[in-house]
Symmetry: C2
Subunit: 133 residues, 2 copies
């Protein structure tokens, strides 16, 4: 039993990085981490569940913010050490800052000194709910 979990190459901390991609827009929303239990719960519930490294606990995405992720597809890479989820993002907001996605910092290389520039609008009150990890 649980062979699909055994096939994953968990790192020294028992984790793998998991990418969540919006199934409709194709936008990469976030990267979080999963342990065995998180992946098993994701499968059992159909809702993305991660392992919060900062809180050292299972974290069902959106459990406080309401910005849950319904998982449509789970993929594993060639080395079995990274996971890719296709998700239906509730509210269209994945980031705890209130933005659509977590990858809102664009590297501006136009000037001599490259710098990160926030490009995405805040769609809801940031920090209202704690939903990071």
């Amino acid at each position: 039993m649980a062979d699909y979990l055994d096939a994953v190459k968990w790192n020294a901390d028992g984790l793998v990085p998991a990418i969540a991609q919006d199934a409709q827009s194709g936008e990469v929303l976030m990267l979080a981490w999963m342990n065995r239990e998180a992946l098993a719960q994701t499968l059992a519930t159909g809702q993305a569940t991660y392992w919060s490294r900062s809180r050292a606990s299972l974290w069902r995405k959106g459990e406080t913010s309401g910005h849950t992720q319904r998982v449509l597809e789970v993929r594993l890479d060639c080395d079995a050490d990274a996971v890719l989820l296709q998700v239906d993002q509730a509210g269209g907001i994945a980031c705890h800052t209130g933005r659509r996605r977590c990858f809102f910092n664009l590297l501006d290389t136009a000037s001599a000194a490259p710098r990160w520039e926030a490009t995405d609008a805040v769609l809801t009150e940031p920090g209202k709910f704690r939903d990071g990890g």
Copy 2:
């Protein structure tokens, strides 16, 4: 100088996970790792350069296979501990197995015992070149 590198939260090994997404199709091609030098070289050359953990060396993607990645955009996430690249994938093949992308294993949940199923065709001779990491 190099402020954009200081803004990244490198892990204990000095690395961050870097996702490569096909700029045209939106397909997530692979997840690899970068250290400071890899990100700096990516910026300097415009070609995706990673840190190969297995070989413990810088790895310019496609240096042996020819399947290089021209980088169109670099993004950093809200926690500054994950990078997202938009790339133009040479040859349309990102994976060292000869497939379009590394995430070719789909979790089949139709049966009682879920299992990973390879879904993508091998487009070129696998293992001909060593280009993993």
